[in-house]
Symmetry: D2
Amino acid sequence: MTEAVSESIHQSLISDFSEVRKATIELFRPLRVEDAVVQSDAFGSPANWHLAHVTWFFHKILEKYGSSQMLEDDAKKVGVSLSYLNSYYQRYGSILPKTERGKFPRPTVEQTLRYRSLIDTAVPAFLSQAITLTDEIRYDITLGIQHEMQHQELMIYDFQNYFQRFLDSEDNYKPVVARDPPIAQVNREKPTGTVRVPGGIYELGFSGTDFCYDNELPEHKVYLQPFKIDIAPVTNGDFIRFVEAGGYQDYKYWLSDGWDLAQEQQWKAPLYWEWKDDKWVKKDFRGLREIDLDEPVVNVSYYEADAYAHWAGKRLPTEPEWEKAASWNEEIQRKTLYPWGDQPPTVEHANLLESHIWRPARVGSYPKGKSHYGCHQMIGDAWEWTSSEYVLYPGFHSKFSEYTDKWAINQKVLRGGCFATPSMQIRNSYRNYFKPHERILFAGFRCVEDDPSRGLEE
Amino acid sequence: MTEAVSESIHQSLISDFSEVRKATIELFRPLRVEDAVVQSDAFGSPANWHLAHVTWFFHKILEKYGSSQMLEDDAKKVGVSLSYLNSYYQRYGSILPKTERGKFPRPTVEQTLRYRSLIDTAVPAFLSQAITLTDEIRYDITLGIQHEMQHQELMIYDFQNYFQRFLDSEDNYKPVVARDPPIAQVNREKPTGTVRVPGGIYELGFSGTDFCYDNELPEHKVYLQPFKIDIAPVTNGDFIRFVEAGGYQDYKYWLSDGWDLAQEQQWKAPLYWEWKDDKWVKKDFRGLREIDLDEPVVNVSYYEADAYAHWAGKRLPTEPEWEKAASWNEEIQRKTLYPWGDQPPTVEHANLLESHIWRPARVGSYPKGKSHYGCHQMIGDAWEWTSSEYVLYPGFHSKFSEYTDKWAINQKVLRGGCFATPSMQIRNSYRNYFKPHERILFAGFRCVEDDPSRGLEE
Amino acid sequence: MTEAVSESIHQSLISDFSEVRKATIELFRPLRVEDAVVQSDAFGSPANWHLAHVTWFFHKILEKYGSSQMLEDDAKKVGVSLSYLNSYYQRYGSILPKTERGKFPRPTVEQTLRYRSLIDTAVPAFLSQAITLTDEIRYDITLGIQHEMQHQELMIYDFQNYFQRFLDSEDNYKPVVARDPPIAQVNREKPTGTVRVPGGIYELGFSGTDFCYDNELPEHKVYLQPFKIDIAPVTNGDFIRFVEAGGYQDYKYWLSDGWDLAQEQQWKAPLYWEWKDDKWVKKDFRGLREIDLDEPVVNVSYYEADAYAHWAGKRLPTEPEWEKAASWNEEIQRKTLYPWGDQPPTVEHANLLESHIWRPARVGSYPKGKSHYGCHQMIGDAWEWTSSEYVLYPGFHSKFSEYTDKWAINQKVLRGGCFATPSMQIRNSYRNYFKPHERILFAGFRCVEDDPSRGLEE
Amino acid sequence: MTEAVSESIHQSLISDFSEVRKATIELFRPLRVEDAVVQSDAFGSPANWHLAHVTWFFHKILEKYGSSQMLEDDAKKVGVSLSYLNSYYQRYGSILPKTERGKFPRPTVEQTLRYRSLIDTAVPAFLSQAITLTDEIRYDITLGIQHEMQHQELMIYDFQNYFQRFLDSEDNYKPVVARDPPIAQVNREKPTGTVRVPGGIYELGFSGTDFCYDNELPEHKVYLQPFKIDIAPVTNGDFIRFVEAGGYQDYKYWLSDGWDLAQEQQWKAPLYWEWKDDKWVKKDFRGLREIDLDEPVVNVSYYEADAYAHWAGKRLPTEPEWEKAASWNEEIQRKTLYPWGDQPPTVEHANLLESHIWRPARVGSYPKGKSHYGCHQMIGDAWEWTSSEYVLYPGFHSKFSEYTDKWAINQKVLRGGCFATPSMQIRNSYRNYFKPHERILFAGFRCVEDDPSRGLEE
């Protein structure tokens, strides 16, 4: 690597770091202190906790490289006790149970912000001083950046969950979360129908050269049967037909565990939906408003997605099916990083991306963003549930233990990315995962069908 | 009533109101916003909630007298939605479940303080304008004052519960709760032994002319057997003997429900005690410190108090036994309002009271405060569990429905008042009540024995 | 005591023992083995467990007097391991949690019956051999007899709870529980209104010379205010008016704990009631049948009784109020053992009693059974909730520790006895007790009112 | 099909039916009625319920073919209400919650046996009358037979769970469950080490012509990476090394969900193990005995299996990896139905099988039973956890809805079959599935490793 190249990598890493840190603060700044420390749901975390946790994550990276001494002295001055920042990382000592995060508001918001600014200075300083920027350092810092973006998205789920409840008690309430809060988009083309994807051997996983998570690797062969996949994700309008056909009342569409849960919690529609004055309404960052039939449905659990698919006589795609439909280009006989090709997302291709790294969603231009096989909106509208359990790929090697390994159980893979996902987190091979009962994330789905009529093209 | 007298009552009511409001703010002011909105235990409430709730209570009183109109307009300007202030008062509409108070920090601290200052102005204005200060108005306003003092004490329980947990993670942490946080006192005389109290008819209840709660009335006859009662409350030193004798491990001392709970929650000593470096230590407003053997034991449930009494071959007093031992003066053949007589408490008599209304506890001078029968520390050190279920007195008439009636089940009466109880709340006839499993309040106990050797003195 | 008297006491004790043992078997015999081992509710126990437990109780008595050696050898032959018979008597070693009784059917029914016949022989043999029948022996054996009768009644509660559920799935199902299963009775006089009872000192507790439980002693003075008490227990017809007035939907009648529970469990009427074809029906030993408006209401919790009383503008009686209304005879200036006088109950006086000891209920003749003050049906129709917590009387001395002491918490006293109570268990001073939420026992209530208009007659 | 062939199929179906029915009764007969109706664990069911349920299953098949009329009249005479036999088949009407099965012992044991004998007659009669034995009829009857064998195995799990608890209270207790109760076997060769299995395309699923479950179909291609697999399942001796190395105390080996559960339930070793007198002992059908180090470990959850694999630096096999290691024969270039070839199991090949259909396990002769790649004990010793979630194969078509579809969530596939699995249930392609926390089944595991050193042989 020439010095110039190395210099440029240095600079670009520092600039990514700064940009992502700034974006977090932009999300956080509109909050009152009261709202920053509440844990509104056992699934979520207080915003102040997110802020401190992502900062501590960089702290640990500096510690790994022996560069945290001064930092720790400073942290003490700020009054930050590091012991309660470990979240689920058990190897760093006794941890506060996740459900207790709302009962222990330390560091305080002010302490968090001061601690944060220590790191804001220390990381670029560390990078500037590093004579050689090893691959490991680059990877670790990039991981810290990606990790922080994950938490940006989780914060948005928490905001949606938390603020919507105030619409009951505060007239005309508008949660001031960000200048342009992320909301779902309508695909103006309103495509319908399915496309055919041939079967055969497919290489699953990340094939690029830039950063990816360890769970996207290694790329490896799988064998697919031919299938037909929906051109577009299921919309609110589609889903209302399921609701109105009595889908939530008929066990025959449901997985047993899903049915039990739906009965116990009395699900009647997606999370946040309410039946009011003879129509379905929903509370989101736009306030209380009627359901837009043309937006992709979100805030449905895996169970609801699967029940819909049964009702429709279809099924959910497996993880490799989804990826092949998004990635494979028959013409050039290779995968692309994004449905539309290898260029990183811009506002032309999908819906979120004015900034280099991250911006809450707005207008996209879907047709240009479609995949080789013709699927629209595979990235950036809604996470899409797949029927594959989240397991590690054969040959997997953990780059950061306790970060990847321990969660590979009882979760389903989601692919794509939603309107609240930072653009740098978006790529065809990205593997998100949640328990099948979770509804708080902006997840929807599209269906597939077997395609026995078609031979294997290989 | 002459005009002058009425004028003076006006003034004294306004002055009491102002003083109690100031005291609440003194308790509240040292808090960070983060700490003000946390509900640290399902039993407790956020401090910010306490603050808004006691204010809303006055609001409702003004509403009753048609004087809340302007107030409500103002409240709206402040952004306060009244609907979530109702706490348990179901008659005012749908209520937020108590356990959710920590998840709904509205009004914000700032809104609460502004709302509070509206009431701070409105109540004196209402009293000044009232041409005739009816008994009902006086009672209601006084009730509001007393109610606020109750919540002051509950806030202190919450502070103890909440802040002690930081001692694990923050070195040298001193919770800044109030200038002089309330703590237990040592009786320098260290009295021991019992005194005899004769049986016969006794008139139970409030016999004074000033304010009392409706549940202290009507005064009515009960019949007592002769008994012997401990001169002093059980101390930490006494209680440690029970602990060391295996009292927490031997079911034979315990009520069945108590034993089950103690096993389930693995009780080994009073709440907040820990065994550390071969001694019992405790976290309180003084930090982490060794147990003082001469302080009255506190933070024990009824079950623990009862188990101790069984172990000691004694029993807990009934409510009338406790009151007679505190109140009856054989020489003057009548009850007194306080153990020491009818003068309101001052720093000479008990331990909390430099101010007219309320001050957190400091030095007392116990011997002067003892009762006619010779009992020390009956008021102002620790609430004392009695064996009487909290039921309403025969002939009871509710002055404020939903405030008194609905709680008369599954609770035990406590008498006396603790080092965190405002002085105006203290009198012999005051009836506090909690479920027998609660340990968060500063409750201890003293024991009694039957006295068959002695005839009835009547 | 002369030899003849002693002889006669011997004989009568043996004869009581035999009769009660026979009655238990009569209750048990119609059961299938399957039904004998099911624990239908966490509150109840399998019938087979009851059978073995009451037998073990006699076993322990013989052990106390050194007469169990041969018995234990025999028990071993029968294959009975005594360790799982201890039920709640913790002092006899580790116990099976009550809720597990249905998962551990040992001894088997056959073993139980064989074990039982060993005791059937051993107890009379022991009594015959005893040279002097000490008071302690008499008391202990009588306690065993009374204890077995308590369990007979509990078995009937369990049968009601268990068998009624089959009415859903088996047409024309008639549970064959006993030849004449106990059912509620109608008072043909249909008395209404209240009677006045004067206040003053009253001696509460058992004043007879025969057996009573230790918790009925010592007799001691209490002081009562004058009151008015309902002549008859609240009937189904009365209670339906409360139901139809929306009593279960309006929190204002309810104790807070009761309201929470009623909401959680969706109570709409007494236990076992159902709304079917536009009327209230109930399943009991007679099958599915329409509610008889003139029977006393039963299977209501304390909470429901208290809510009714609030709705009716009345209250529940205290324990001494109930007892005085049942016991005190102004003419002879003393208490009687039963409402009607001192003669033990026969079929003329109440409703259950053809046999000397026990029979399930049938026709009574109420007017003759009324108390001096004119109250009907105070004994033998329904247990009546009182507002008094179950605490031990002042001066109480336990005759059988772990049997009496440990339950004196969180329970309300019931007085009277129901149509399933063996006649020997019935007397004015008998203290039954249950948690306020229990609905499985045949408990109803009558109301009282304060009577300020009347002076104390003393 | 010629008449003779058809005749022979008739006869063989009837004979299989009779044999499996007889085997169930042999399992059931030693039970006392008391033991037959207990539901010892929420996971399990009463034996009497199993008996009635498998019978009802045939009843429904006859109903499908219009041959149940007489049967239903007869059932009524026997007193059997069919409504409570539906278990989880929601489509047949309201169902008794599984956890309540122990509280509703209907039909009684006697009714069950009479109902059973009605079916024992009706099914052969139906088959004899059927002019043409359609494939559908054959499939359905065979399904009923297989279904009954599944429940035989579940009954054995229940027996183990239920009877072992009596070893605490009954000296020298030997549960009389069957003449030769199933127990684990030792492989006398004690093989260790791994074998290599090449990667490439593999056809997963059932390739035979006889009966298989719908979830074993369709056979379809998958792609495997090369791997090394343990020759033998992990033994008790292996597992004790994990236990003694602190495996249950170190979170780093565990999946997050597994760790949480293990902490909550305080797992320290496999289910049924106890540490006693300085060694590990276990209660099984042989009584209380020391752990045999050479038996395969069983009664471990998926979580424990996975933790062991992590500790050993390996991983669990996927479902296709397991199947290929058991089925593929490179020499003949096709799969075999069993590890040893296509002949059905006999006592020579595995351990359970003296009878044509079913026998509890005894001596096996493992070396002859090994697979082409050299794996021992793949069938008939212990179910083996795989890392694959139970999902339906691509192209799956349900033959019996509600039977297969609804369970494909939150479960892991197990392969192989244990010493309590009927021999007709055993084949390489059989897919068993349980939730990862279940420990009651006789499940163990073997480990695999990636084999990057080896190329793909294809």
